[in-house]
């Protein structure tokens, strides 16, 4: 694999993925019942998801402050943070669709991928449908883009 100075080697990326996935399992967020328990304000409410968000943001906010000051990765690579500031129909409509799907299944992308290898057929079905939705997006974007036009959308 090609060396990429300024950025981490793939093995480090693997362990960060493992850390993230372990955090999701420990937090309970790989259980759609817990996610829906949070989204169900009318029934008996499970506030756990709120604590997951609070804990995650508390740590990552510090890292974003450091990154902003350094403006480089620790190894000197350029930061590739989203620069798009437009709040438009794509952002709103996409987030609306995502929220409906999230409420229907109790899965968002991270926990769904983690559950895939825990041996649950229903999680696998969800992931397949999710990948199909992502692939459909890429196809529609490719069709929309004019040849030679600026490629690439902002991703979070």
């Amino acid at each position: 694999m090609k060396r990429n100075p300024g950025y981490m080697p793939p093995i480090t990326g693997f362990f960060i993925g493992l850390l993230f996935g372990t955090g999701l399992i420990l937090s309970g967020m790989t259980d759609p019942g817990k996610v829906i328990g949070f989204l169900d304000l009318r029934g008996a409410w499970d506030p756990s998801l709120g604590l997951v968000m609070a804990g995650a943001i508390a740590v990552s906010a510090i890292a974003f402050r450091i990154a902003r000051r350094r403006n480089r990765t620790l190894a000197g690579g350029r930061l590739e943070l989203p620069s798009n500031k437009t709040i438009d129909g794509r952002l709103a409509g996409g987030s609306l669709a995502f929220g409906i799907g999230w409420g229907l299944a109790g899965f968002c992308p991270g926990p769904a991928l983690v559950s895939l290898t825990a041996g649950h057929a229903k999680a696998a079905l969800f992931v397949l449908a999710m990948l199909a939705g992502m692939a459909a997006f890429e196809l529609m974007e490719r069709a929309r883009r004019t040849p030679g036009g600026a490629a690439g959308t902002q991703e979070q």
Binding site: G17, S27, G103, T117
Partner: protein
């Protein structure tokens, strides 16, 4: 509204959140990017040369988490109540929606709110509201 004390797990959820935040922090400081699962996964389907390796490495780690967990601790049985057709519709909505909206719970929810991005704040407010309303509709209004 009442608290579901049988399922509320304050300490493990907070600890899990801290690990997630640590992963986001390391990813940012070492790769210079937002750790957003939908963006990392979706970008893979663009098949752009030189932009595949780091995505695959991260996702491989994510997929290794459940097997690694089961080596040390019992697996937690998930409650997946949705039936198969609902899961297909939900998956399509999540796939399309996170790509059109440029992010999910990790990219907008954790990273975006951490860096106080107005775009992510808007997205998070919308998908949370949609989630609350959908669960209300499915569990109470239409049940």
């Amino acid at each position: 509204m009442s608290i579901d004390w049988n399922h509320f797990t304050p300490w493990t959820s907070l600890a899990g959140g801290l690990l997630i935040g640590l992963a986001v922090a390391l990813f940012l400081l070492l790769q210079g990017r937002i750790l957003g699962i939908s963006g990392i996964t979706g970008g893979l389907l663009r098949f752009r040369r030189g932009d595949i390796g780091w995505r695959l490495a991260f996702i491989a780690g994510l997929l290794a988490a459940s097997p690694a967990w089961m080596l040390f601790a019992p697996a937690v049985a998930p409650r997946i109540d949705a039936d198969w057709p609902t899961l297909i519709i939900a998956g399509l909505l999540v796939g399309l929606g996170t790509r059109y909206g440029s992010g999910c719970t990790s990219g907008h929810g954790v990273c975006g709110l951490s860096r106080m991005s107005p775009r992510s704040l808007t997205a998070t407010a919308i998908f949370m509201a949609a989630g609350f309303l959908t669960v209300f509709a499915v569990r109470h209004a239409l049940a």
